[in-house]
């Protein structure tokens, strides 16, 4: 039953213009999954941990896919990865790093902390739209997600 619910995509991105382009890309790609956009590392940690204002997992379900920028206010993307890496369930959630940083040491660090994939943000709007299309068709449509405790299970 849980499979029929369209699962949430969590976008963690502080740059408003980048977030705008990505969200527009999801719109254009006709992605129907609900997208939660957070712009701060601390907020993202609270969401994933289900703490504070995000305590209600029915309203704020664990996402099916996390898109993570690395340069964030509050804790950084790398620090968030470090935290996720030691959480039993949350570490299974497919996570794609989406950043402007293409330095090899950053790429390596992200994979070492369990990132599933690493993408460098393209500059142009049409390239972003193409990337978002692929993100949707690969990670949402094709990839088999892990089984997490779903809101539907919690409700029972």
């Amino acid at each position: 039953m849980a499979e029929e619910v369209l699962r949430t995509i969590l976008l963690i991105e502080d740059e408003p213009s980048d977030a705008e382009l990505l969200l527009r890309g999801f719109d254009k790609a006709k992605v129907l999954n609900p997208i939660v956009h957070l712009s701060n590392g601390d907020e993202a940690l609270r969401y994933l941990a289900g703490r504070g204002e995000f305590y209600d997992r029915i309203k704020f379900p664990l996402p099916a896919l996390i898109l993570l920028d690395l340069k964030l206010p509050g804790i950084t993307g790398i620090q968030l990865l470090q935290w996720m890496h030691v959480q039993d369930e949350i570490k299974r959630i497919p996570l794609v790093v989406l950043t402007a940083d293409d330095r090899q040491e950053t790429v390596n660090a992200a994979y070492d902390l369990g990132a599933n994939s690493y993408l460098v943000k393209p500059g142009k709007a049409d390239e972003i739209a193409r990337m978002v299309n692929l993100l949707q068709s690969y990670w949402i449509a094709l990839n088999q997600p892990p089984q997490l405790v779903m809101a539907a299970d919690l409700a029972n």
Binding site: V107, N108, S117, L119, L134, P146
Partner: protein, 172 residues
């Protein structure tokens, strides 16, 4: 620009210029770990259209997968058995299972532990899927039933991993 980037990566075995001489094409090697001969032919045919982009190498059991990745025994010569850019890994394998290959790979001290692994399995059992992610699989794909679906899977795999993804450095 893409070509220079590609050259830095592991798993790129050659650079060729197409007939028009317009675009450099980097061919990447993918290691397919698959014991079933029918499934192998199926995957090989589905990837045929990407023969300029992807060179598929195959081993048929978990022990050989480990030997290939480590470059040991019959796989010592990297000219013939290049280090792959990504592994397509079946789970149910003779000798070492796919899970054991993943555990071995992720526990390596040197940088090869980062090698991206895409599971390609006949099982969609949540316990297998969760276990694969817990052992460090980057992605989990279910073997489709029909050939057309497998061709679509190959399309997506090529477009995502070969064209979009940034790979870790495995030489440092």
């Amino acid at each position: 620009m893409t070509v220079f980037k590609a050259q830095r990566r592991a798993g790129i075995i050659e650079l060729s210029i197409d007939d028009e001489g317009e675009q450099g094409v980097a061919q990447s090697s993918v290691l397919l770990v698959e014991d079933d001969p029918a499934d192998y032919r199926f995957v090989q045919r589905a990837f045929e259209r990407f023969k300029d982009e992807i060179k598929l190498f195959r081993v048929t059991n978990g022990d050989d997968a480990v030997a290939y990745i480590a470059g040991e025994g019959p796989y010592e010569n990297r000219g013939v058995h290049p280090f792959p850019l990504v592994i397509l890994l079946d789970l149910k394998l003779p000798r070492r299972s796919g899970f054991e290959v993943l555990q071995w790979l992720r526990s390596q001290r040197d940088s090869i532990h980062r090698l991206p692994v895409v599971v390609l399995s006949g099982s969609d059992e949540p316990k297998d899927v969760n276990r694969a992610y817990d052992y460090g699989a980057n992605s989990y794909l279910c073997k489709p039933n029909g050939f057309q679906q497998l061709e679509r899977l190959a399309d997506q795999f090529e477009a995502y991993w070969m064209k979009l993804n940034e790979f870790p450095n495995l030489q440092s």
